[in-house]
Subunit: 174 residues, 2 copies
């Protein structure tokens, strides 16, 4: 493969579930959020809002109400991307927000990795029980849907990258 720091970061990004106590700097938080918002979205609607949580009590409350509590509780920074239903496409295309939020989340994971941080994407939507638990904790209006929780922090030892290359999933039509 061609040498490229970006390709390298894409290939070596892993889910990190253990974090040190060190906080993520404001500068890194802004970079990560800028990366998320740089994602493509259907018709460029940018149908998202981001809850950025470093508050101790709220991090604990989210962790206690979330199935992936173990690593959420140890992470100094939680980002909860939410769908903003006031900005979605009308009709059948409304559901494109899931794709838009996913692209933003992947950008956030890659940016965190590029900054030397660890991160893991924990799904909320479309599991209705998770959506129902998280919504009141963040006091979300009806127009916002909590999409996922991204745990971010410094890590002492990231797991080795997985080799997920699977030629059997490829169909070449030349």
């Amino acid at each position: 493969m061609k040498e490229s720091a970006t390709i390298h970061d894409i290939m070596t990004r892993v889910s990190v579930r253990q974090f040190t106590d060190a906080p993520v700097s404001d500068s890194d938080i802004e970079t990560i959020l800028r990366a998320g918002m740089a994602a493509p979205s259907a018709m460029n609607k940018q149908p998202w809002q981001f809850y950025v949580i470093t508050n101790d009590a709220l991090r604990r409350k989210l962790s206690e109400n979330f199935s992936n509590a173990v690593y959420a509780s140890s992470s100094p920074l939680l980002i909860v991307p939410c769908a903003d239903l006031t900005k979605t496409i009308e009709g059948e295309g409304e559901a494109y927000w899931q794709q838009d939020l996913s692209a933003a989340t992947e950008n956030i994971l890659l940016a965190a990795h590029a900054l030397g941080l660890g991160a893991v994407w924990c799904g909320i939507y479309p599991i209705s029980e998770r959506v129902a638990r998280i919504r009141p904790i963040l006091d979300l209006p009806d127009t916002l849907i909590p999409f996922g929780i991204i745990c971010i922090g410094h890590t002492e030892s990231a797991p080795a990258p997985k080799d997920k290359w699977n030629p059997e999933a490829l169909h070449f039509i030349r």
Copy 2:
């Protein structure tokens, strides 16, 4: 923001809709596909297959049957990521495949950009009319859902990156 080639590529990636006739090299195609497969997926299911199309007649046929025909027809490489329903999570979590495929697609777009190529993500799913048109052209079994068409190629002049930074979409809870 910290200097990082990856952050830079994330921030400067744009949707490219005009391509030269130059083919994408086999080496670049493999790099792009490896990047796609390196994406995270819920429970690491990797519920995807990728149709990789350089064939002239098929590219033309896909373009004619697709609303974004103008740029699809000029692109020397089309990748159609498909959901593999034999690999999805059971129950309410089945729909996570949309998030998995979106993360893979974003990785593909970033990898193409990092390689100096242009690319654009055209949505198929969940627009039922598009799914119905594309499915027979690729002769997809019922277990595969065409998710989108990614047009990739060399470009003479990419558009300027959009500034999508929107502090109003941020909620800090410190």
